[in-house]
Symmetry: C3
Subunit: 137 residues, 3 copies
């Protein structure tokens, strides 16, 4: 590896923290996995979310949508590949499955997406500066 | 990270070992991923399993149930977040998908659960002292 | 752990790199996760692929099949257990889910498999010397 074990694991930890944050309705914690002016681009939503305020609002809407619809949605992350960049930058790629469970029903896979992230090292640790979500459908 | 790469990876390894143990019918190996008086609480089963003997019996019943039903069940773990505790304690959270494959049929997702584990450092490595399984349905 | 954090993570990274390579049609990159005379044995295909040329051809056929069928297939890896071997050998076991998304349709789980890999340390890093894929159906 051309990248330290610490840096690879920091990305794994960031992904774990991020999914559990948004899926638990902790919107500010989710936004904090991005840089202060971080960008989130996904074809699943009409507009990108850029900067902490928009990212937080995005995560709040996501969780409110789950509560309203009676379906629990989970961001299941796997198959992480961390690619070295400069000393303070990384690129990472992972599969993100959206799995939903309507109350009282079986769980089902909604979609398989790939996240492609540009990360930067900050005083608080690695943060996502730009995420692009790619859908398979 | 406020937690060492070694400690985070030990949890990933524990989860890998644990799933492959129960899914392969190695019940004592599964029980050994818990402390000697470890606790397993899940709404999928009527009673918790507490202590090595009950944990082993639980894993034996699980695997015997698969054999009897002709459906292979797998514990698919992902999206791990390891949260620092004291010097010899950790909390960990992960998604656990139960995927089943009846003989000759397609695989299907049975349920998406979250495991929330309290871990303690033992002379033999990190062990689960208390697991609580949360179901989305 | 009896195995270093670096070695465990090298396997996680290898798996991430491998899946994204074959799923993106980078056949030679996929083959390069094996040793030069590496072996791939899977009951999903009539013959094993042995050596770089056959491995590359296998990955090319896989991706061409996706393009022809209009269904994107993904190799979703999780639940990795890295088992120490000798100083320059490892065994690893993981769940590999094949998830497909036909154009314009929902994603679906095709099959749950277990990969069992013998790995060797090479000057270029850990490589798969022999992979056996086990199917649940």
């Amino acid at each position: 590896m051309d990248i330290s074990a610490e840096d690879v694991l920091a990305v794994h930890q960031l992904y774990g923290r991020q999914s559990h944050a948004i899926d638990s309705g902790r919107a500010a914690d989710w936004a904090a996995t991005f840089t202060a002016d971080g960008e989130f681009h996904s074809p699943s939503y009409p507009d990108p979310a850029i900067g902490a305020a928009e990212l937080t609002a995005f995560a709040e809407r996501f969780h409110a949508g789950c509560v309203d619809s009676g379906e629990v949605l989970r961001h299941v992350v796997s198959t992480v590949e961390v690619i070295p960049g400069g000393p303070d930058t990384l690129t990472s790629r992972a599969y993100l499955q959206i799995v939903g469970t309507p109350t009282g029903e079986a769980s089902r896979l909604h979609r398989l997406t790939t996240v492609v992230d540009d990360l930067v090292r900050t005083p608080a640790g690695w943060r996502i500066d730009r995420r692009v979500v790619l859908r398979d459908d």
